[in-house]
């Protein structure tokens, strides 16, 4: 059985960086979703994640409830992301290009093209949403978080989380429709 988050946090606090790396792999998709929600840009989201992971390692002792590491990491990522958005002029500390891509399971070319087009449309549409709405939609619809968890991360009520998801979906739908109509008329 895989070790729990709490166990991995305990090991990482004792200096086991491999345990920390396992935590990062386990929660990467969530962290990337939060970063994308803040920055609305994939390159920025990657940089935010890298900075946030280093900060999480440095401040792991501040994670008071290791069994709730996921929520704590999400707050670290969001904090780093918001700071970065506010000071976009900051230079990248470690260019990601320094680390060559590792082998991965790549989708077939036609599937990859379809996914890329869909992703680009979604990103364009998401970019028009306010940050809180974007976060709420991504965390609720993509990551499957409960409204209570979304509300805690964003510092809003559960009611407002529901409203942001609902409004965000509607806004996304409008944007995607206008995007499609724009393509058809061109």
């Amino acid at each position: 059985m895989d070790p729990s988050d709490a166990e991995l946090v305990r090991r990482a606090r004792a200096g086991d960086d491999a345990a920390f790396e396992t935590l990062l792999h386990r929660h990467f998709d969530m962290a990337f979703g939060v970063a994308l929600g803040v920055a609305a840009d994939r390159d920025d989201a990657e940089d935010i994640c890298q900075d946030a992971f280093v900060r999480a390692w440095e401040r792991l002792h501040q994670c008071r409830h290791p069994e709730r590491f996921r929520g704590w990491l999400a707050r670290v990522v969001r904090s780093v992301g918001l700071n970065r958005v506010e000071s976009r002029t900051r230079r990248r500390q470690t260019p990601l290009e320094a680390h060559p891509p590792l082998p991965s399971d790549r989708p077939r070319p036609d599937e990859a093209v379809r996914r890329r087009e869909l992703r680009e449309r979604l990103e364009r549409a998401l970019g028009h949403l306010p940050e809180v709405q974007r976060q709420a939609v991504l965390l609720y619809d993509l990551e499957g978080w409960a409204h209570a968890e979304v509300a805690e991360l964003l510092g809003i009520s559960v009611l407002m989380s529901r409203r942001h998801v609902s409004d965000g979906r509607r806004a996304l739908r409008r944007r995607l429709e206008s995007d499609r109509e724009g393509k058809e008329s061109s």
């Binding site: 990482a12 606090r13 004792a14 200096g15 086991d16 960086d17 920390f20 790396e21 990062l24 792999h25 990467f28 998709d29 990337f32 979703g33 994308l36 994939r42 990657e46 994640c49 890298q50 992971f53 280093v54 390692w57 440095e58 792991l60 002792h61 500390q93 470690t94 990601l96 320094a98 680390h99 060559p100 891509p101 590792l102 082998p103 991965s104 399971d105 790549r106 996914r115 869909l118 992703r119 979604l122 990103e123 549409a125 998401l126 939609v137 991504l138 619809d141 993509l142 499957g144 979906r169 996304l172 739908r173 995607l176 429709e177 499609r180």
Partner: protein, 115 residues
């Protein structure tokens, strides 16, 4: 597609290559030593404490807080210490020896007013 649903939103997920690249970059930064930080901490402590005591306190911190410092092991701290402070000072030597044996006991002794 007229309405985004969870299936569509999955297109936003990072691919495994992105995940591996970002985590590898972060872990490289986690694992790389930062002697500049240690030097700054040592100099900062020395402003308020006798340099030998400041060095001894740092040795203890490194011993007590594995994973919290860029140099989690006492040996690495000792190497840096030798470049930054007078390791022939009896207090530093005593601290290193005691920290190797039982770091927490040393901290208690400092809390009581030092050795």
């Amino acid at each position: 597609m007229t309405e985004p649903d969870r299936t569509d939103l999955r297109a936003l997920r990072p691919d495994p290559g992105t995940r591996d690249r970002v985590i590898a970059g972060a872990m490289a930064r986690v694992r790389e030593p930062s002697p500049g930080f240690v030097q700054a901490a040592l100099e900062g402590s020395a402003r308020f404490l006798r340099p030998a005591l400041a060095a001894a306190v740092l040795v203890l911190l490194f011993a007590l807080l594995p994973g919290r410092s860029p140099h989690p092991d006492l040996e690495a701290a000792g190497v840096l210490l030798s470049a930054s402070a007078d390791v022939s000072d009896p207090l530093v030597q005593w601290s290193i020896g005691e920290a190797e044996a039982d770091p927490r006991a040393v901290l208690v002794m400092y809390g009581r007013g030092g050795p």
